[in-house]
Amino acid sequence: MEEATISQELFTINNLWVMIAAALVFIMHLGFACVEAGFVQKKNVVNILFKNTTIPAIGLLTYALMGFNLMYPGSDYAGGWFGFAGFGIGTDEAGLTSAYTDWGGYTYWTDFIFQGMFAATCATIVSGAVAERVKLIPFLIFTTLFVAIAYPITGMWKWGGGWLNELGFHDFAGSSLVHSVGGWGALAGAMLLGPRKGKYTENGVKPIPGHSMPLATIGVFLLWFGWYGFNGGSVLSADAPTVSLVFVTTSLGAAAGAITALFTAFFMFKSYDLSMVLNGILGGLVGITAGADVITPMESIIIGGIAGIIIPFAVVFFDKLKIDDPVGATSVHLVCGVWGTLAAGIFGEGKDVVAQLTGIAAIGVFSFAFAFIVFYILKLTTGIRVPDTEEERGLDITEHEMEAYKMF
């Protein structure tokens, strides 16, 4: 750590913004909860809410226990691939001063809470894809391992200063490190679980519509809202030019995703499909996340717009493969996450497409393998899928003995 180079005032401002950004990222967990609850059937709503309520709690606690020190091991690397600075969190006086980081951005505690809020999001992404059929406890075990171990390791490769960082890989706020990591976990889970009963019939795909579009819409807006903290806070300071550029690129990326998804879905399905517009917004946001700091607003419209076009194709594609993803997590987070990482290389000045591809591949292989192996072991031991009768009756009654709505 070098001498503090900024005034106490700037330090306080930077720190304040990163804390507020952490609170905004927190509200994304409610966004995920609402989107996923809206997109599942009424009989599985308590179950998905239970997971989405438990995941941030697990995420924060495991991140305090070990995740933070796996992701930011300091100089204690194994060749930039792995490091661990010990269990628990805590700091000395220096961690609370503007000397804490090179750029004097924030305190140790702010660092932890901002990063901790990120950590749980990748597990939440998985919960959407495996919804309506996964067993609760094995899923929570998976979540714990994924958040505590897998996410911090790939996170370290880049944000912790590891080998991908050395390589010039650019992933500003986590198109890859957060979203596609979650997306790969979602893919592994959805593949090993198999589709929900009745989804793929001889006569083609039989959609299983979500139970509440208002809930899904609330969720998407809250995610967009929280994304100002997710991307804006990833500047790691309140630096006016950068943060305000990020606000603009994030907003325009989301807006472009909405509009292109609207038209693409209309041309494909001859229908003004709200669920596609909602997914288009999320796709645009995920797409813009890797390069939000290094692209122009015009480029953000292109990147978000392409993400919005990708979404309906990706949804149809996964359905073709009979990979059943009730909320579209793989299309949104995995496919658009990969696209966004690539786009940062294509559009970002001085960025390197090869480094981007290397990062995409390395992160993909590790995350998918980790998730696949964990789910596979759970499948062989505890089992990961509820019995057919429970799936039919719904997880709310069978796993939670509770109903989501009591409308009579």
Binding site: F269, S271, D273, M276
Partner: protein, 112 residues
């Protein structure tokens, strides 16, 4: 005494209600049902997959009437619920043995 059950288009409910009240048939029970029939169900698209809801949302009306008003009531419903397009629904007339008023314990005609 007879029970008249009519399965009608939800959108015709208000018209039927008004028509019934015009002939003095103010007492009935109704609830939402779904119907399969010649009329195709709603065509629906969800996240890129098209399908048919199969059914149509309908309203079922049940009226208990004395034997001599069966025809008047059923005609009234039929006319009010009629559009002429496939999917108008059916009226079913079934026998009842007895009707009892919970409030007065009176039966049949005097139970109404």
């Amino acid at each position: 005494m007879k029970k008249i059950e009519a399965i009608i288009r939800s959108s015709k409910f208000e018209a039927v209600k008004t028509a019934l009240s015009e002939i003095g048939a103010n007492f009935f029970t109704f609830f939402e049902v779904k119907g399969f029939g010649k009329q195709a169900g709603e065509h629906v698209v969800y996240r890129g997959a098209e399908y048919d809801l199969g059914y149509i949302a309908r309203m079922k009306i049940e009226v208990i009437v004395t034997n001599d008003s069966v025809e008047k009531v059923s005609n009234t419903i039929r006319k009010a619920a009629h559009t002429g397009e496939i999917g108008d629904g059916k009226i079913v007339i079934t026998p009842i043995d007895e009707i009892i008023s919970i409030r007065t314990a009176k039966v049949n005609e005097s139970a109404l």
